[in-house]
Amino acid sequence: MQGRPINKASATLIAAIGALAAPHASAQSLTTYGTPGLIEMPTAEVMQDGDLAFTASFFGPNRRYTGTFQVLPRVYGSFRYSHIKNIFGTSGYLGGDTFDRSFDIHYQIFYETARRPAVAIGLRDFLGTGLLSGEYFVATKSFGPKLEVTGGLGWGRFAGRNSFSNPLSVIADRFKTRPTGFTGTGGQVETGNWFRGPTSPFAGVKWKFSDQTTFFAEYSPDLYTLESVSTGINVSSPLNFGVEYRFKNGPKLKGYIVGGHEIGAQLSYVINPKRPRVSGGLETSPRVVGNRDRLAIADWNNSAKGGGKAAVQRVVAARLSEDGMKLQGFTMSGRQATLRVENNRWNNESQAAGRAARVMATTLPPEIEQFTVVFQERGVPISRVVTQRSDLEELQFDYDGAWRTLARTDIADAYDQGRLGELDDVYPVIETSFGPYLATSFFDPNSPIRADFGAQLKALYRPAPGLTFSGRFRYPLVGNIDQSFRGSNSVLEPVRTNAVRYAKESSLEINTLSAEYIFRPGKDLFGRVSFGYLESMFGGISAELLWYPVASRLALGAELNYVKQRDFDMLFGFQDYGVASGHASAYYDFGNGFSSQLDVGRYLAGDYGATLSIDREFNNGFKVGGFFTLTNVSFADFGEGSFDKGLRFEVPVSWLTGRPSRKTVKQTIKPITRDGGARLAVANRLYGLVTEYRGKELRDGWGRYLR
């Protein structure tokens, strides 16, 4: 996450989503700003809950690339990267072009009814340098299924043509004028500007000609005052016209004339995380739990044919392996049996529990009634799922089987599992892999997307449960991250801003090389100690403790690190800078798809502060979230952006392909990476390692238990 603004494999993500996702039936038209609306003007509409819209628009000197997320049924937020050619004339920095990151937020106050229009309030570019800043109140009413009329009042950028004195100045005189410029180094919430200065009306109509084609006309007050000086943009007419065509597989192509002269086009695509490529998945049908008495005469249960516990174990291991799970321990006595498994296939862990229980129900001798599945991660037992065989037999085809099996299943902590029944041949675990890697760097003004591509060797040796020695070595083959001019200009210790120097001065790199021990100190407790070259820029020691009761929505953790900055060649040496850092963390799952994390402590540059993260996690594992960090570093000392913040998303590969996989495609997007509020990027922080196997996540995924 931190470090070089790097993460792998996501440059292709949007393309992959576009190619594979199921087409989306109804979605709003999007503006040049990538938000629901007409051509440039917003409407009071929102998208469907959870929708993610991607838009690239081009006209005149403007290029805008926007992602919009319908966070709540009434609220959407946008992140935009815009490029305005030649706005500062030829004399300016970077030949006069500007590259700007901006955020929008929109709240629908009233939804539309038969008599009342939908009404919404919105802020464009409310965070940052404010180049596109504007606020609006807007109302939209549809007349029949084809026609929609919109009218609104706008401030800031919206206040151009026919502007009048701010009606809000009846509340306070300060609303009459709008301050110019932005605070400090940008990136702050500019509440002081909102709804201030003159006001202009805007209006428009949308006419749905057919399922595929929609026409737009709008009155736009935006005069492009700043742009018109040098860019040559001509918006002499207030009227904009556009037409949109929706392709059958989902993408929308829109063409328009802005201001009477500027011809432009945009492409947009909307996906919904609740709709993966294949609902229910393409995986094989699970084994049917048949009459258990027939298993008494199966070869492996028949001592006359060499059957017995060893033979049963072989069959269980082979059948688990067909279902992508590794058997790591097996006990069977009296009426109960226990499997310890490592799940390498199912991103829905409840489904893994169901598949493992079915392997038992179709293999074990008939007297075994109680099945226990213990999930292990890196050899460490996390949780156990206890089911009764007769319940599986009874409910496997029940229309309410998911709920009824859940009600009869016991999910418990597995801290006391010890090493009982561990298979002899599990350790040592040795894994090596060799393949390509892709490292990316975003938002360099000279080249918004930079990337390195090269070869990567990963090796892992685990002699005992929880104890892992691992390394990751990289050799860049092609790339341009090292050609960036962005050096560190930080007044803080340059803990992250030397990323380019790391890229320039390294060739064969030891990305990580570390020893790690993960263990269970007691009930509901997890521990981790990591030592070595923990991440690309820092090495040292890191220790963590997590308290996480199995049925709890709340988890608490603490982490302490002492690390030194690594040499720029990314080999074995260290620089002089060392720092003790650490955090106390609280994790809470709100239960409505939202979860949050609060980390309070000391960061790598020695600054003290807190990070708040909020994620919306869809039940199928698709995640969209954001975070920000405030520390005792002043906004001025922090530099551009004022404080650390970012957006992140994670897409399960199974969502894209319809086939089960524990792989995900994830990316964190930060407008800028500075040295304040930077955390150590140590691998395998405990919460992320274990949460999928705790009760909340298992219960949420139970819809697939019988799948």
Binding site: G280, L282, T284, V288
Partner: protein, 235 residues
């Protein structure tokens, strides 16, 4: 070889009959989203679970057609537990039936996860007209199960003799019109006048998949599936 069912409106028997039957078995159903990664397996190279069914000649066969995807496959019965039959194709996609009525699917996309069918089943098998209700549980894209209730009118709509691989069979044709608050469908069942069993049916499996047709078939895999409205032609 790809099989496409094409509605021609006239009765037509498939051409390459022998390879046709074997091919339906080999290719698996691969019903979901016309998945191109699922190709016909070379004869005999089945996953162990399916190979065991192929080897056991007492296992019955069935032909399944998903109308919306124009795809057919030959399924073998893997299990029969308390009257619920699980039929699988060579790619281990499954169709689950209870006395010939669609109880569930696995691996087709937008799963009909399970159904409660006792009321309409009693009417359909006994050839009676009447109102009944049924429950459908669907596994949605967000990994949650949603259960809907349908109210259905079961009616006798006539008799007809149909030609199947297992022979020419006189049947009583039963229809079932079902509605929920936001969905509606019409299932048709051909109940053998001799055995009283459903030998052919056209049943709704949900918005995304649409109608699935099931036909009793032989193990010999020599004949082509035949139906009174459509045709299966090879290539």
């Amino acid at each position: 070889m790809i099989i496409r069912a094409t509605i021609l409106g006239l009765l037509f028997v498939g051409v390459a009959a022998c390879s046709n039957g074997q091919d339906l078995l080999n290719r698996g159903v691969a019903l979901a989203v016309n998945d191109k990664t699922s190709v016909a397996r070379p004869a005999g190279q089945f996953p162990p679970r399916f190979a065991a069914l192929v080897a056991d000649t007492s296992v019955p066969a069935m032909i399944v057609t998903v109308e919306s995807r124009s795809q057919s496959g030959r399924l073998l019965r893997e299990a029969q537990v308390n009257g619920v039959e699980t039929w699988v194709s060579s790619d281990l996609t499954a169709v689950i039936l209870e006395n010939g009525m669609l109880q569930g699917t696995r691996g087709l996309g937008s799963e009909l996860f399970a159904a409660e069918l006792s009321e309409p089943m009693a009417l359909i098998l006994s050839g009676k007209t009447g109102y009944s209700s049924r429950l459908h549980s669907n596994l949605k894209g967000n990994d949650r199960i949603v259960t809907r209730t349908f109210n259905c009118l079961v009616e006798v709509s006539g008799t007809g003799t149909i030609a199947l691989e297992i022979g020419t069979i006189p049947t009583r044709i039963m229809t079932e019109d079902c509605k929920s608050l936001d969905q509606a469908f019409r299932n048709t069942y051909w109940v053998s006048s001799k055995s009283g069993a459903i030998v052919q049916a056209r049943q709704w499996a949900g918005d995304e998949i649409g109608y699935i047709k099931t036909q009793s078939a032989t193990r010999e895999m020599t004949g082509a599936p035949v139906s009174e409205v459509g045709v299966v032609i090879s290539e």
